[in-house]
Symmetry: C2
Subunit: 139 residues, 2 copies
């Protein structure tokens, strides 16, 4: 698959915007993270790699990446936004362990089928979804 940085670069060019080191580093760090993250956590990872990027730039770049369809927001609680890579992937469904706070990505193609059927029955076209299951250990 085409590397994400190339996708990003192309989208930026289309919009007459620039591919800056900050933007490159942010995307790179997100790819390395390969997990759900929040803005703070991303900035922390950047710092670990000795990249100083301001919060403002982090947020501005997250918005750009969303608009480019490279990442998407995941709403887990109402405290703050979480994000995850989205480009070229099936949206990830989440299994949230209420007892341990653990967030497990699951892949449930049947959910997608069901989603598509529900839309079809109503003459609608699915554009995306958010499926989160909250569970605890049995017993």
């Amino acid at each position: 698959m085409e590397p994400l940085c190339a996708v990003f670069r192309r989208r930026l060019k289309e919009l007459g915007q620039k591919y800056t080191p900050e933007r490159a580093q942010i995307l790179d760090t997100i790819i390395k993270l390969d997990d759900i993250f929040e803005a703070d956590q991303l900035q922390e990872e950047l710092r670990k790699a000795d990249f100083r990027v301001s919060k403002a730039t982090v947020y501005r770049t997250l918005k750009l990446l969303q608009e480019a369809g490279i990442i998407q927001q995941v709403l887990v609680d109402s405290e703050q936004a979480n994000y995850q890579l989205a480009y070229g992937r099936r949206p990830r469904d989440l299994l949230i362990r209420v007892d341990t706070q653990e967030i497990i990505s699951i892949d449930a193609p049947e959910l997608i089928e069901l989603r598509d059927r529900i839309c079809r029955e109503r003459g609608l076209e699915p554009q995306g979804h958010r499926f989160q299951i909250f569970a605890v250990k049995k017993g």
Copy 2:
């Protein structure tokens, strides 16, 4: 079914808390609304019925109602929290029209079955879920 105000009253008593007019009016207004709402909107509805309740009390009561299991948060976007009645109801799944911003409650028992199966396969016990489908009109 037992009226919700009775459930609320009982929970409050259990916690050594009081059943005040403000709390009664807030719950009543939520029941009349019978829809997804945000804090602002709830306060507006209260005002229409000539009930003056402060934002602080609105938020404090929403939290109480959540703890009592009478309402639950619905995360639709990251801007602000939405709420809906939850007590004694199957959690409502949402079909969100991206083109019109309309939010449609759907009832999809198959989603629940699927959810339960996914949990069972992992030795977990489902406690709740959040299913939101984003769609646009076909064509």
